[in-house]
Symmetry: C2
Subunit: 362 residues, 2 copies
């Protein structure tokens, strides 16, 4: 049911020192910060009486689960919040059985993910391989959808940025934040297209009244992207790649044919594209600051490990694995040399969204 023609960029698998599983603390900080907000959405907006007319289990899916512990932790939190909701509604409602679905591309390391599940678990689990830009579940078969740090990954880099004849050619850069407006727009258009296909598929899979919580690294309207974390990809990783080009360690063509398929939307962009879908009402939509502005500046080592965990696989796929150690040595040195980059890395805001599947079809 899913074409899988979209590109997969798995996080670093396994559980070695550079794996996503061992280096996703940075994402975890955020997940913890929004836990209370998800709990609140479930307490206030989840219409369990509607679901409980049938004896079917409560089905929850995480889209873009990767292999780290964050996905399972988020899912467990959601289950607990729903159980509390059932308890609060009194004894007349029997708590359903929970079935948790973990989705990611079929190239995701599901073996590592499955090995990480505790043997005695009070819920049923399943892994669902495939691109979430297409259908992955039967109609109206999910009650709750979650996705965290996944929708910022584009299904592909917009092809104009590689086209010498296009005004959106992104010569000498590997990401859009400091590029000309045409490049930014090409990225933005691709993001809107991806979000639209995601929402269209989920609208069919969610039952009426079902909730969806999304966490996407993104920006408050008006915040300069040049001061946001996402700029690090070009300012640090990109700049180190260019240094390696100059030293003949990487060919210029190789760098020109590479761009990160990552986009960080502004709040208003999100609001507009959700409204266009018409199947969902917006329960909550806001920018959440990392640790409410109290976050300390990360160490160079932590910042390097974080960048490496997220970008290693995609860089390896394009440039080959032999450049990785050299590249991230340089990334580390670059941040030591320009400590203000570490301050930029603090500006990693996220957009938190709660949507409700409304009882009508577009």
């Amino acid at each position: 049911m899913e074409g899988e023609e979209t590109k997969a960029f798995p996080m670093k698998g396994g559980d070695g020192p550079y794996s996503y599983a061992k280096n996703s603390h940075y994402q975890k900080t955020f997940v913890d910060a929004v836990k209370a907000m998800i709990d609140e959405a479930i307490a206030d907006k989840l219409d369990i009486k509607h679901f409980s007319t049938t004896s079917s289990p409560f089905r929850i899916a995480d889209f873009g689960c990767s292999v780290g512990p964050n996905s399972l932790n988020s899912m467990k939190n959601i289950v607990e919040a729903i159980e509390i909701k059932y308890h609060s509604e009194g004894l007349s409602l029997k708590i359903p059985e929970f079935q948790l679905f973990f989705n990611d591309h079929s190239s995701n390391d599901f073996n590592t993910l499955f090995a990480s599940f505790p043997p005695d678990r009070p819920y049923f689990i399943a892994g669902v391989p495939g691109s979430f830009h297409g259908r992955l579940f039967p109609k109206a078969s999910l009650h709750f959808v979650h996705s965290s740090y996944s929708l910022n990954w584009l299904s592909k880099v917009p092809k104009e940025v590689f086209d010498k004849n296009s005004s959106a050619w992104n010569k000498g850069k590997i990401h859009y934040p400091t590029s000309k407006i045409e490049v930014v727009e090409a990225y933005s258009t691709q993001f809107v297209r991806d979000m639209e296909s995601f929402l269209l598929a989920r609208a069919q899979e969610l039952v009426f009244g079902g909730l969806m919580t999304l966490i996407i690294p993104g920006l408050a309207d008006g915040f300069p992207i040049s001061k946001s974390f996402t700029t690090m990809l070009d300012l640090v990783v990109g700049s180190c790649l260019m240094d390696m080009t100059k030293m003949g360690l990487v060919s210029e063509d190789k760098v020109d044919s590479f761009n990160f398929p990552i986009y960080n939307p502004y709040l208003q962009e999100m609001e507009k594209l959700i409204a266009r879908n018409k199947s969902f009402s917006i329960v909550r939509l806001e920018v959440v600051d990392r640790g409410q502005g109290n976050a300390s500046t990360p160490s160079v080592e932590a910042a390097t490990m974080g960048l490496r965990a997220v970008t290693e696989e995609i860089i390896k796929e394009h440039f080959g694995s032999e450049i990785i150690d050299e590249l991230f040595d340089r990334v580390s040195k670059k941040m030591k040399e320009f400590p203000h980059l570490l301050d930029i890395s603090k500006n990693a805001t996220q957009i938190f969204v709660v949507l409700k599947r409304e009882d009508y079809d577009p």
Copy 2:
């Protein structure tokens, strides 16, 4: 929901020359032979009108899917037979969406399994890791259960066979077929226990009216087990291990502490334990001969590859990988030396079972 305390003996993963994926032709012959019987059971016994009162998808699960193509092929055949059934009932019944669940131990190579699914598929898929001797799905959430060549794997070797003080001590042997009656009974008791926990869990997971098809290597009542394929494990693999013991290549203790956790039931045993469960009615229960007696004797190479694909992982786990090549060289030579063993390997009958979940609880 599942303890996972039971032991996992995965088939050889990946798709290398000795992988299960490449060496499961032998099983496939059987799967093809019973396809017509499964089609018939669906055509005659599946009460789709009962299911179609709800708009829910049709959910099918394969328990013990491994990584080879046989699981997906069986599932596709089942889907097709159900679609034909819907068509034959006339236009009033809308064909549901299909959701296929692939279960095996969490140590199964799900990454290889997922990579083998065609990108454009007219059904939804999910992988479910965990032991099928416990619950893996919500109550009444499956409409069709399938399991092929899996229930012959015991959750563990009965511990008496390793106990010097037990009358069931299996000294000098690594399987039960040519052992004394106490050993055979210990194996049989373990099989009954495993089947009971399997049936108990599936009874809860299957909807009333749901069907279950099981294919288990097994024997017609009265057929001498010493003439059946399963004897090869001891007569060939076991005997080669004993030869290696005598040459000091493997320690005697190592062999004494090893037994294959495999059991091939007689038809009557199956009938009795199913009847005891009370949740299922027997739609069909019979012994099916491989190729209806027309099978040709396999080549030594094919027989060796087949034995290796099924036993390599478990032998490796106990004896270490360094003995594998030597052992299967000897297996091959042994069969060349005693060609009658190849004739025994033809006697690989299976028990084919169709059960229906009845509308009452025990």
